[in-house]
């Protein structure tokens, strides 16, 4: 199956039909990655929804500034990281509550079996708790490198450091995450 075919089968592809053609392809290919980054970086599904909306709106309004030097994914990540950092800085309530997690999982597509949703909910909650316990820099690095479309060099460029620095920090980030994740059991 080629990539284009796989993309048209995503649920986001159907929703993207509401959007203008120039944004539709971007949304289909990258909305999941951007939403996931925002969700796990911000730790709140409503704020992640707002952030994803704002990122794609900014992308559309600045499409003429995208010169194709970076990949579209990297360009969108850059907008998303800046936006999410600004959102975090503007919060008065720095302590993130996970209560919205329940509402988010209630919105999963109907095709999921209840057991599957329960598993997902539990796992998602545990991952969020572990990520919340990390330094923001470690959290962001782990989220970026878990995207297989992004190299260490690109993750480094997005966070203003070299690929070697990314590797070094990732070693500590993985260990810190694993320790925190075990404590969520």
């Amino acid at each position: 199956m080629n990539q284009a075919c796989a993309e048209t089968q995503r649920p986001e592809a159907a929703e993207a039909q509401l959007l203008p053609a120039e944004l539709s392809a971007l949304y289909t290919a990258h909305s999941r990655a951007i939403y996931y980054l925002a969700l796990r970086f911000l730790g709140d599904s409503h704020k992640a929804e707002d952030a994803t909306h704002d990122v794609f709106l900014k992308a559309l309004r600045n499409l003429n500034q995208f010169r194709g030097e970076a990949s579209a994914r990297t360009w969108l990540y850059r907008i998303a990281i800046n936006h999410c950092k600004n959102m975090r800085a503007a919060w008065h309530d720095r302590h993130v509550l996970l209560s919205s997690e329940n509402e988010f999982f209630e919105r999963l597509p109907g095709g999921e079996s209840p057991l599957r949703i329960l598993e997902t909910k539990e796992l998602g909650g545990r991952i969020q708790k572990a990520l919340d316990g990390l330094k923001a820099e470690y959290r962001l690095l782990l989220l970026l490198v878990s995207d297989q479309e992004l190299s260490y060099e690109q993750a480094g460029a997005l966070t203003g450091q070299t690929a070697d620095a990314v590797r070094g920090k990732l070693f500590r980030a993985r260990k810190a995450f694993a320790d925190l994740f075990q404590k969520t059991e």
Partner: protein
Amino acid sequence: MKQENKFSTGRHQEQAAESQTAESLAAHTAAREFQSVEDLLRHDAAQTAVPPEIARRLSESIAQPAPPRRSWWRKLLG
């Protein structure tokens, strides 16, 4: 009675084998799926659905004219 005992022993063995298989499958699945933190996060990302409201809100926002850009000094002064 003896037959009943034999039957119940057989069922116990069957149940034990079933639960053992389920446990080893779960352990195997967990080991296969989450070999690294990145693997775990990839799995989580794949399970995360993008709320359809975002595309709907986007199409509504696009239909509205873009707000005028605020000058830097206005941003600074609030």
